[in-house]
């Protein structure tokens, strides 16, 4: 059973959207190529949504569109966060409204140390976890605070990217393949953290190739294929639905 998004074209989403984060009919392009072809879904406050799909399905592009990063260009469509029209904002405004993105290639800023990478996140309000608290969560980062961020090992960089998002006071956390390159112990660790975050009422959208893990964590799931939504429903449902798993997730 799919949950049909509870809004229709033309209505003012701010009034009608029941959801906390509403993505409605977004289309995105890279130059001439048409990547996101009308994606819509809702996320409720405090919920964890797993956004799944094959390589090149458009998951990253969707997250980037929500976080209002320059490219891809959204041609039309709307994104609402807590009655605020995100699609009218640019990326730093979106961030100030509470969007936090952990990008897929981590985007540790070259030339800055680990600590500076974290400090950078705390320049603009609103500020989230303190740096000390983040070091408690990821002791490896604490040990390497003076090391240049980009010389960290792959997994350490991933930790830094997550820590950096938490250093801001976020309402919605967008995670693009957070487990990639992490040792299983650390994955467990991060999973715990995500549950903790959820308890604090933060809404999370997670994109992950390790679909089983993501689905076990998530409340709901949206599956994308070639730029369109092919499934929208409870996470458990995907785990049960053999056909769906085989066709879109190959598990």
């Amino acid at each position: 059973m799919n949950v049909k998004p509870d809004f229709s074209k033309g209505k003012n989403l701010a009034e009608t959207a029941p959801a906390y984060l509403s993505v409605w009919d977004i289309h995105a392009y890279y130059g001439e190529s048409y990547i996101v072809q009308g994606v819509s879904f809702n996320v409720h406050e405090g919920e964890i949504l797993a956004l799944l799909g094959r390589n090149g399905a458009g998951k990253t592009s969707t997250l980037r569109a929500i976080a209002r990063l320059d490219d891809p260009q959204i041609s039309h469509g709307e994104v609402w966060l807590d009655h605020q029209p995100l699609h009218l904002k640019n990326s730093h405004q979106a961030s100030q409204l509470g969007i936090g993105l952990v990008p897929e290639d981590r985007r540790i800023i070259p030339g800055l140390t680990v600590e500076e990478n974290l400090q950078l996140a705390q320049i603009a309000p609103p500020i989230g976890w303190s740096i000390e608290r983040l070091y408690e969560l990821f002791p490896r980062l604490g040990e390497r605070r003076k090391q240049e961020g980009v010389t960290l090992s792959g997994g350490e960089q991933q930790m830094l990217a997550i820590a950096r998002a938490l250093a801001r006071d976020i309402k919605v956390l967008l995670l693009d393949e957070p487990y990639e390159g992490l040792a299983p112990v650390i994955v467990d660790e991060i999973e715990k953290t995500l549950r903790l975050i959820k308890e604090q009422g933060i809404t999370t959208v997670i994109v992950e190739q390790n679909a089983v893990r993501a689905l076990e964590l998530a409340d709901r799931s949206v599956i994308l294929d070639t730029g369109s939504v092919v499934f929208d429903g409870a996470a458990a449902e995907v785990l049960e639905n053999e056909e769906l798993r085989a066709e879109y997730l190959a598990i």
């Binding site: 799919n2 998004p5 048409y34 072809q37 009308g38 994606v39 041609s75 730029g227 939504v229 092919v230």
Partner: protein, 400 residues
Amino acid sequence: MFGLDKKDTTLLLVVALLTLLAPFILNPFPTDSGLAQFNAGYPDLMQRFVIFGIFAIGFNILFGLTGYLSFGHAAFLGVGSYSAVWMFKLLSMNIIPAIVLSVVIAGLFALVIGYVSLRRSGIYFSILTLAFAQMSFALAYSVLTPITNGETGLQLTLEDPRILGTSATADGSIPVTNLFGLEMRSATDLVIGPWSFTFSAGYYVCAIVMLVAFYLAIRIFRSPFGMMLRAIKSNQNRLNYTGLNSRPYTLAAFVISGMYAGLAGGLMASMDPLAGAERMQWTASGEVVLMTILGGAGTLIGPVLGAGMIKYFENIFSKINDNVLHGWFAWMPDGIEDLTVAIIHPFIGKGWHLTLGILFMLVVIFLPGGLVEGGQRIMRLFSRKKATKDDKSKAKQPAE
């Protein structure tokens, strides 16, 4: 044809046609009309177009393909010119030995400078090449005057000890550069009605050399070597871990483009046997950079267009003066005429730099790919019909 694919063959043929018909194409206005000012079809300027075209094509092999931005390429052009003039002074007025020597010497010069400069990349490389060129310029202007004749530039004199040839002609002049007897300065005029077209031997020699140079550049662009160079620009690191040594590739590209510059320098001296130190100054190096970017770096034809554009402004716009303007607008009522002239005045004659500066900005702002992109946009305008603009039909509705 010529070992090129269809697109490149067409390009080559079009360029060949344009160059060979340049005396007509560049002289569209009748000689007596006011617009004759805009005619560019006289030997010197046509030669300059193709010579700087060669220079820019060569520069583009380095910059366009590898991304290494040399800011000292004019040094090779200068060295080429000096070698050629010395060849005229010492050996013969035939241009072949002169051009051969200038290419060889410029190549050697490039080998040395390239070997050192290519130890660094990015801006550090640019500054190294700049420093070498500026040193060459400063020395040529002062300390090396015995070789370069300093400020005045190296010229032929009546006392040159020419081994194969005479020091002076029978009537007491300096002999003229030639190609096995074909004098570079000779030209014939063709008058058709009010039009007059000049066919200059020198121009056609340059044009043919340029076509050969252009053809070679296409081959290089399309060769595995060219692909390696593009790979260097894209990700040098990856190339090294793929088992390829990027140094000899960049050095080869550097030397080849240095030789192109030397060829241009040699040709320049062959058309007009003088070699001045300013040819090596940073502004001259900067000029070829601007030509290449203006036309479109990394494209085949772009640099030639850029070179033509800049030389056109330098030689045509700088020569328009108020007198000429008044001539053009004489048909207007006096007050309006003066006003029009006053408005245009800052942009012509001594203001040609201003116009050029504005042009640079306009091109780079509106045509990020240079003049070539301008051309492509025009082409696209014609083939627009095919492009489907209806995005919505493709857009799928959210899953139900």
